[in-house]
């Protein structure tokens, strides 16, 4: 199958490459092995010398491409760098070094008078494409984002899929309370950072305790919404805010008691959460109108005597919900049909258990492509991230090593997962992709960072 798709790609490229000499219309098969990319050293043409600043930007781009899961960056090669400084790509295209290093694409970034112009070159077919012009601001924190955009442009050009480099991650950070006489010894706020952990900033400024954030879907022309749980009024309530609201969150769900662990359906038509309004820790659904807000009353979606429900996650089409229940003593991952509002009395839905390998399974997160569920599972005494694949109905372990790992959440790519370690010595956010399977720590410094959401 792989050979057949490669052959089709090759015939396609061979036939059309001449007519599209200046356009990279090739969309590589996403299931192919990772593509080797060479990034030319960033040089400011006018000054003609390498600066620390440019090196930092180059590092950002290298990180982005290297962690895209579909591409791998080749190590810097002295001879190639020397050749690229004296000759054009056309002159170097047939150089044997490319084959030796198995490089398929070259990324060149020319910077002149703060204007940054990335060009993507195909070694095999000899064509090159100028992607877009960007204006650098001279601030590393801001210009990092331009490197992220370039990485995503390269990804889109080669695979016709959105990259993750420009995306952001929400999380909660717990710190010790400043005031000595404060009733709570700890404070917790919602933070946001770039997908690589940089540009971290607090989104909430509550005196109270805020946890478990989740993004609402992107809406064009609007600042992105997010939901979180806040203890401002005593019992935990779900709040809504947006990235530009600077801590002005408002209560969202009208329901007595505690509301916990919110998650939104992809089309923003429903929010699922845990509430004790019934006297138990049950799963609830609330319908949402895109403009008007709440639609009707919340529905008690799942309950079971003497059990605790937790951590709901919608399937991408919103028709199913994965969640945790300890109805069979040990917490496991179950899937139910999302209840509808069509009848007033709801029957207890049939819950299908999907986590069978290990004893303690928690925090399910449904991948945006609908094919997998990531969750945390007790494995030889340590909580590790596992992935359940709906296609072959298999559970596979993704992480290893010490430190409990919890709260996995998928990137829009369905290839990357963010999670947090949950030990006293380590409570930070990590990024991992399904291809490399190497966790990368993206947060540092004091404070307990947890409940990441993409």
């Amino acid at each position: 199958m792989f050979k057949l798709t490669s052959l089709i790609s090759f015939i396609y490229l061979f036939t059309f490459s001449n007519s599209f000499a200046e356009e990279l219309v090739v969309h590589l098969n996403v299931s192919q092995p990772q593509v080797n990319v060479y990034i030319e050293e960033l040089i400011n043409i006018k000054e003609g010398k390498k600066q620390e600043y440019l090196q930092a930007l180059e590092d950002v781009l290298r990180f982005d491409i290297d962690n895209s899961a579909r591409m791998k960056v080749c190590a810097k090669h002295l001879q190639i760098e020397t050749l690229l400084k004296t000759k054009s790509f056309k002159e170097l295209q047939s150089h044997l070094l490319w084959k030796e290093l198995q490089v398929k694409y070259l990324i060149q970034i020319h910077i002149e008078n703060k204007i940054c112009t990335p060009t993507l070159c195909s070694i095999d077919y000899g064509y090159q494409k100028e992607l877009k012009k960007f204006e650098l601001e001279g601030s590393l924190l801001k210009d990092r984002k331009i490197m992220h955009q370039i990485a995503d442009l390269v990804h889109k050009t080669l695979f016709n899929l959105d990259g993750i480099a420009s995306s952001e991650i929400l999380y909660a950070m717990q710190t010790k309370a400043n005031k000595e006489n404060q009733e709570l010894k700890y404070n917790s706020q919602i933070w946001v950072c770039d997908y690589d952990g940089y540009n971290a900033r607090a989104l909430t400024q509550e005196e109270s305790y805020c946890i478990t954030p989740c993004f609402g879907p992107n809406k064009k022309g609007h600042s992105r919404e997010f939901f979180y749980v806040c203890y401002d009024r005593g019992p935990s309530k779900i709040y809504i805010s947006s990235l530009n609201d600077f801590g002005e969150g408002k209560p969202f769900i009208k329901l007595r008691g505690n509301q916990l662990l919110p998650t939104l359906s992809k089309d923003r038509s429903k929010i699922a959460f845990i509430s004790d309004a019934s006297g138990r820790a049950d799963l609830f659904i609330q319908a949402i109108h895109p403009e008007k807000g709440l639609l009707g009353k919340p529905i008690q979606a799942y309950s079971f005597p003497s059990s605790v429900q937790a951590s709901p996650s919608f399937s991408p089409d919103g028709k199913k919900i994965a969640f945790v229940s300890d109805k069979e003593k040990s917490p496991k991952i179950y899937v139910i049909e999302t209840p509808s509002y069509s009848s007033s009395k709801k029957h207890l839905p049939e819950a299908l258990c999907i986590s069978k390998k290990n004893k303690e399974n928690i925090c399910p997160s449904w991948s945006p492509d609908g094919k997998k569920i990531a969750y945390s599972s007790m494995t030889e005494g340590v909580r590790q991230i596992w992935v359940y694949d709906f296609e072959n109905k298999e559970e596979k372990q993704l992480t290893f090593g010490k430190f409990h790992k919890e709260n996995p959440c998928w990137a829009p790519s369905s290839l990357h997962i963010v999670f947090n370690t949950a030990d006293t010595d380590s409570s930070d956010i990590y990024l991992i992709n399904l291809i490399d399977k190497v966790p990368i720590k993206i947060t540092s410094g004091p404070g307990k960072k947890h409940y990441p959401a993409w």
Binding site: S236, R256, D276, A277, R280, G296, K297, V308, I362
Partner: protein
């Protein structure tokens, strides 16, 4: 025939008086009828229960029915059937969370900021109670006697408001523990209501394992952290000891 009609008419009038005397509206009459159904079912079910305490009927909702459902519930009969067939339920009859967070203006009740940890003599009544690992039921006599003391105190001091804070130890996962803490706090609340405390004066919070009282990593610390704490508000002038 006439005698029969008089008897029949008297019976109808009597029945209509009986059913209308306590009802406020057709809606609440229906709720009462519904609740009666629940009560009958619960009564028959309880014959087979091991927990003798659950035979008591103290929860206000069981007699009056909920004032107004603010969510669309699952079919309670199905849940009760599962409960009866699978469990010797140890949870007291479910007491719905009756009030929103107290708001000073609307209910003349205090806001969350007014609630403090019990101090002085009240600290000996509102003691922290502890749970077994991964359990939401209070099993030791010490904790149960604390619940007795608190409920007695609340019955005497009608102006007191209580927040129950459910906590867990560090060994469970963060998200699951948030739910488990809710369950623990709700259990304590239900126990207090069963023993006569006013359900409208008791609120619950779960912090999961977010706020440990002992940050050590040993059995003693875990036992201390699996707890339900109390925060109270009461007008000092009304205290009866």
């Amino acid at each position: 025939m006439r005698h029969f009609l008089v008897k029949y008419f008297s019976l109808m009038v009597g029945m209509s008086m009986l059913f209308s005397s306590c009802s406020h509206s057709s809606g609440s009459a229906w709720e009462d009828t519904k609740t009666l159904g629940r009560y009958i079912q619960r009564g028959s079910k309880l014959l087979f229960k091991k927990n003798p305490d659950s035979k008591l009927l103290h929860a206000r909702d069981e007699l009056t029915g909920p004032i107004e459902e603010d969510f669309i519930p699952l079919n309670q009969q199905e849940l009760l059937a599962i409960d009866a067939s699978n469990f010797s339920s140890e949870e007291p009859s479910l007491e719905k969370v009756s009030l929103e967070t107290p708001l000073a203006e609307e209910t003349k009740a205090p806001t969350i900021d007014s609630f403090k940890k019990p101090s002085n003599s009240l600290a000996s009544i509102f003691k922290t109670v502890h749970f077994n690992t991964d359990d939401y039921v209070l099993r030791d006599n010490t904790s149960l006697s604390v619940i007795d003391s608190i409920s007695n105190y609340m019955k005497k001091n009608k102006e007191i408001y209580v927040f129950i804070l459910g906590h867990c130890d560090e060994r469970g996962s963060e998200a699951y523990n948030l739910s488990l803490g809710t369950k623990r706090a709700s259990y304590v609340r239900n126990l207090l209501v069963k023993k006569g405390a006013d359900s409208a004066h008791i609120f619950t919070i779960s912090f999961g394992k977010e706020i440990p009282v002992d940050a050590s990593h040993n059995k003693e610390a875990w036992a201390k952290n699996r707890r339900a704490e109390f925060k109270i508000y009461e007008k000092s002038s009304t205290i009866i000891k």
